[in-house]
């Protein structure tokens, strides 16, 4: 409760400072819109439905690409950890591409797929895949070999060992890889939406882009707030439960 109050006071003060900066005309109102105008804008798009439809379009793209990246990345990471030949090939590839800022995939995706949903999907998958592969590989290689031997004496082998020992034992690494993959996917999707206008769906990135085109600062700031909020919510819904489980079981909570 006390922590919650601290947060509320902090953000109230932040908005108050913003409001004061606006009233004091520190900067031109064209550059710094008032909190009221941003709230009004968000209220309007919430009422006319465009906030929800854009959010749905963006989240659909994000989740689809993220899931594909995850489903491909986990087994590839497991294999890379186990097979030397794959470590020397796919492992190096993953390390290289993970270092490539994911926005750099946008031009290639456009040339390959044109202005389509496939281009969006491709960019998000590329943002996710490599971090998940690398994190899974690190996780598997850090599993205490004693766990596997203990499991073998208890009658576990093959796929059973993979699912009930290797996977949970590497969970701390995998979850942080999933988080990183999510962050990369989110960033790359926003970049793609800002740069690529496609007719099959109007996402949050497009709203942001048109805010700039129209010189509508309250729209730019408003959509940025929405994007921040989605990031926070994703963290709470997607990753907090995992992290709580890890902290409780592994005792890593400070």
């Amino acid at each position: 409760m006390k922590r919650f109050l601290t947060a509320v006071v902090f953000f109230a003060l932040l908005v108050a400072a913003w409001h004061w900066a606006y009233v004091a005309r520190l900067w031109s109102p064209v550059l710094v819109p008032s909190p009221e105008s941003v709230a009004r804008y968000l209220g309007e798009i919430a009422l006319d439905g465009s906030l929800w439809s854009s959010t749905v379009v963006t989240m659909k793209r994000l989740l689809a690409g993220y899931l594909i990246g995850l489903l491909a990345g986990l087994p590839l990471g497991f294999l890379t950890a186990r097979v030397q030949a794959l470590r020397d090939t796919v492992g190096v590839l993953a390390l290289g591409f993970q270092g490539l800022p994911s926005v750099c995939w946008v031009p290639l995706a456009l040339l390959w797929f044109g202005q389509t949903e496939s281009a969006m999907l491709f960019v998000v998958v590329m943002g996710t895949l490599w971090s998940v592969i690398l994190a899974t590989e690190t996780g598997v290689r850090n599993v205490n070999p004693l766990y596997v031997r203990a499991a073998r004496t208890m009658g576990s082998e093959g796929l059973h060992t993979w699912v009930t020992v290797m996977l949970p034992a590497s969970l701390p690494f995998i979850v942080s890889g999933m988080k990183q993959g999510w962050a990369f996917a989110w960033r790359s999707l926003m970049a793609a939406e800002i740069y690529v206008t496609i007719l099959t769906g109007f996402g949050l990135g497009h709203l942001l882009h048109y805010g700039r085109e129209l010189n509508a600062m309250e729209q730019v700031v408003g959509i940025m707030l929405v994007i921040v909020l989605i990031g926070l919510l994703a963290d709470k819904i997607l990753f907090s439960p995992w992290e709580k489980f890890l902290h409780r079981r592994w005792g890593t909570e400070k």
Partner: protein, 267 residues
């Protein structure tokens, strides 16, 4: 009583190690770990393998467990050569090797879930029985990191006992514990051993520990690992590790160990 067929001690078996040798390939060339080891363990016998590090006693234990294969010779239990791990031969390690993603109960259940012919209710009852046996009925839902070193090894013991093995293999299970906790566990282990009539092969480099637990102490020397000497410990149980009699045996064995080491170094 649904537990009736599961809880009573299974008939223990004779363990026969016949002329076993083992080499390891390392980056510095082959290492001769074990040389022509023969050892017979009777039903329900408690045998301690003692020797300095590098004498191959853990390797031998892994081969009995079926985790490693002998280079030459054979390991036979119940008339069958050992071809791989089996629930008949459970192992306890120096580190508890408990799974941190499961609670204490889940750890004990792991091996039981792999055991066919039991209903889920029976499995739960068996797991609870063994956690009670090691005195941890209040810690079934505890996370592994919340347990002390001694409690972890108790859970590991319950986990090893739960599939009802005939042979229990213990690789320096108490080496990382403090003296007081260790003495408590000596008591528990002897009580459970007597009650279950298990065959136990116990690896340690602590001579006193070996004397206070074993029916027989087998002395190994390193490079390559060989059996040097055997001592039958004819002391009444329960034994106290601090007693004069245990100390007497321990002194004799330690002296023999040093003799073999010096002799070995002279070759």
């Amino acid at each position: 009583m649904t537990l009736a067929p599961e809880i009573p001690a299974a008939p223990t078996v004779r363990l026969s190690i016949d002329r076993v040798s083992k080499w390891f390939e390392t980056s510095r060339g082959p290492v001769h770990a074990l040389d022509d080891i023969s050892l017979q363990v009777a039903e329900g016998e408690f045998v301690c393998l003692v020797g300095p590090s590098g004498c191959g006693k853990s390797t031998l234990l892994n081969m009995i467990a079926g985790l490693e294969m002998p280079g030459q010779g054979s390991v036979v239990t119940a008339g069958q050569p050992v071809k791989g791990p089996s629930r008949e031969r459970m192992m306890m390690f120096q580190e508890s090797a408990l799974f941190p993603w499961l609670d204490a109960f889940g750890n004990v259940m792991f091996g039981l879930k792999r055991k066919p012919g039991l209903s889920d209710t029976e499995r739960r009852e068996v797991a609870e029985y063994y956690l009670k046996l090691v005195g941890l009925e209040k810690f079934m839902q505890a996370n592994i990191h919340e347990l002390s070193g001694g409690m972890k090894q108790r859970v590991a013991l319950a986990r090893a006992l739960a599939p009802n093995p005939r042979v229990l293999l213990m690789d320096e299970p108490f080496a990382a514990l403090d003296a007081l906790t260790r003495e408590q566990l000596y008591g528990d282990l002897q009580r459970i051993w007597a009650q279950r009539k298990l065959t136990i092969v116990f690896v340690t480099h602590n001579v006193r520990e070996a004397v206070s637990l074993g029916d027989r102490v087998v002395l190994f020397s390193p490079h390559p690992g060989r059996i040097r000497e055997e001592f039958r410990i004819s002391l009444p149980r329960p034994r106290d590790i601090n007693s004069v009699e245990v100390a007497g045996y321990a002194t004799r064995i330690t002296r023999a160990l040093k003799d073999h080491m010096e002799h070995g170094a002279g070759i």
